[in-house]
Symmetry: C2
Subunit: 184 residues, 2 copies
């Protein structure tokens, strides 16, 4: 319940490699379809590589006037989720399960993050020097959150787009439990 998607961070707060490894040790416990465990992880906590990764990402589609976090507010670590095609060509919902373990672990460490899917995959693959067997699936951006994110109810107009107020507070309209359960 404490975990939110964060897109602005305190870039003075660095995250070390060992912290990322601890988060992968949580992802390791995730259920996996047919227990294949075809997902692998590339970790980045170095500034220059972080900047390269950042350049391949598109942020927050609903915030039209916001191009993404500016210098000083960018993620200080990334976990790139990869499908290892030498193991399987399918991963079902494995990535969601594993990433949720990662993000819940991050929150317990006082960190936060955001799942990104709008990725220039060929460019990122080149930056990371990935072998052909690895397909980029998701990017998890991580850092020390520097924004307030508030869950609100979806209004009668049904608009689910997140938005920010004049103070930069980020609001996320969530459907009610009654709307989510079809046989309530």
């Amino acid at each position: 319940m404490k975990n939110r998607s964060y897109r602005r961070f305190d870039e003075q707060f660095s995250i070390d490699h060992d912290t990322l490894v601890e988060l992968i040790s949580l992802a390791r416990y995730a259920a996996s379809g047919r227990n294949m465990q075809p997902l692998k992880y590339f970790l980045s906590s170095e500034h220059d590589l972080n900047e390269q990764i950042f350049s391949t990402l598109t942020w927050a589609g609903y915030l039209k006037e916001w191009p993404g976090p500016q210098k000083g507010e960018r993620p200080t670590a990334y976990i790139i989720v990869l499908l290892d095609h030498d193991i399987s060509d399918h991963f079902l919902c494995d990535d969601g399960i594993a990433i949720q373990n990662i993000l819940l672990g991050a929150v317990e460490k006082g960190l936060g993050g955001c799942i990104l899917r709008a990725i220039n995959k060929p460019l990122l693959s080149a930056f990371l020097g990935l072998a052909d067997r690895y397909e980029i699936i998701d990017v998890v951006a991580l850092g020390k959150p520097k924004e307030k994110v508030v869950i609100t109810a979806v209004k009668d107009d049904g608009d689910i787009r997140y938005y920010r107020d004049e103070n930069g507070v980020h609001y996320v309209p969530k459907r009610s439990v009654d709307e989510l359960i079809i046989n309530q």
Copy 2:
């Protein structure tokens, strides 16, 4: 770390509808791609409907001689995860995130469950009386676990198939953190 995939339950232990609603209230907090929240949920905690749902499921592909939990050890509740095509035709990794919230919540309540994807979808859709807009994505089986599930290391032969010993203990070989991280 406490959450495992359980397939045998104490069928004397029933789960009430309100408990399932509480689990959906956790799924509600899950991140969703473009915040679309296209997933809906059908809840079952009634014996007769549970039996119908059970009849549409295939269990534990690696346990060739085990057709699934026998009477007395079956799930006492189900959460059917549906894609609402009136909202979106895509759900990215939303189901994995939401289901992990559900299962971690279940573990905190002393329950446990298993994600099933081998589903006779036309039959289950008919049993549930689903409108055309709803596509069945996953079935989450829930109950009071009545089996021991142990994580082990994948051996040198790379075999990731889960197995049971002569006492019925269920073992799940998990890849090491070193194998999961490609730039360790």
